[in-house]
Symmetry: C2
Subunit: 203 residues, 2 copies
């Protein structure tokens, strides 16, 4: 059985949890508290030298880190991964956008605000990070004004990748009121068959 | 004909230039000086609202940004993209690693040192960025101690993605002496058929 090394508050972990639920794929979940160094133990680093969750361990012991690579692996051959060359490349385009231009400026402020003390020196990073977060939301809004989804004209792993932290952007002090197309897209994603909330755990 | 919007000093642009050369694919190159705002003009933003190079414009006018998505598109169906599910996912794993854990800490210090004035306040970012850059090189070294390439046991787009800024890491004040396996891999990549240097321009 697949094993997902995970942290329940992580949007990156949620990407895998959401797709696994929508695929109806059974798996074992191992909660790793990133606040107590659980992903920096020698045992964990032997599985992922980059010391991060989520990480998917396959039946044969192979460990696959990087949330968006896990989406690719899990979704392979399913309708959640576009089959056609350009749509596939566009799904990946948005998934690289997510990791480079969105996650550090939406997920990281959320982490600083939720998990670090109110007097953390890292609060000084917030104004710049949130400005870049709004720039990322602007880019998404521009696309969603004329597109229902991010790639291939239908719900895909690109939507899952971007939904994970965008739908909790308010927890990063990012106001979604100026982004009507984005808010409609959030509702569209949440209405997909088999959708589960970020706190979902398999029974 | 394909058009690559590019900036010759960019490692992200070099990824596309290198693969295009190795594929023997003709293309038109449009140099965009990122230092004079060429990627933030209304004309450019209409093609890529995220305002970045490289960007690949297809014959039908579709514009594909994100260097690693461009590698995916160009390499589709070629030996440069692994065909098998796990190897494909592992290639993407390293390409997401490159954008999230490597590029901001190798490419950005190089940019600060090469393109911003010596008294730029952004120099204050260097110690933290370079420490994270060394952490990324550590992760690569651990993999390369027992693997000739990053995915599928052969040269692929994952190697191109990671080679682009690693081979100029010295320009970011990162010393590669402590990374013998990584230095052997750099030589292995440079010895691949059709390899071209970062300054290569099609005739």
């Amino acid at each position: 059985m697949l094993t997902l090394y995970d942290y329940l508050d992580s949007g990156n972990g949620y990407k895998a949890r959401l797709l696994l639920a929508q695929l109806g794929q059974p798996y074992r979940r191992v909660e790793c508290d990133i606040m107590t160094g659980r992903t920096r133990t020698p045992e964990f680093l032997a599985k992922n030298p980059n010391g991060r969750i989520p990480m998917l361990e396959l039946d044969n012991g192979v460990c696959l880190p990087e949330s968006n690579a896990i989406l690719w692996y899990l979704g392979h051959g399913s309708p959640f991964v576009p089959a056609e060359r350009l749509a596939q490349s566009q799904a990946l385009q948005w998934m690289f956008f997510e990791q480079y231009s969105h996650e550090p400026y939406v997920a990281t402020p959320r982490f600083i605000l939720r998990h670090l003390p109110a007097n953390s020196p890292r609060r000084a990073e917030l104004p710049d990070r949130l400005a870049r977060g709004r720039a990322a939301l602007d880019v998404m809004e521009a696309h969603l004004k004329t597109n229902a989804f991010f790639a291939g004209g239908r719900y895909s792993i690109a939507d899952i990748a971007l939904y994970a932290y965008t739908h909790v952007a308010h927890e990063a002090q990012l106001d979604l009121a100026p982004y009507p197309a984005l808010r409609e897209w959030l509702a569209r994603v949440a209405s997909q068959s088999g959708h589960v909330p970020i706190t979902f755990e398999p029974s």
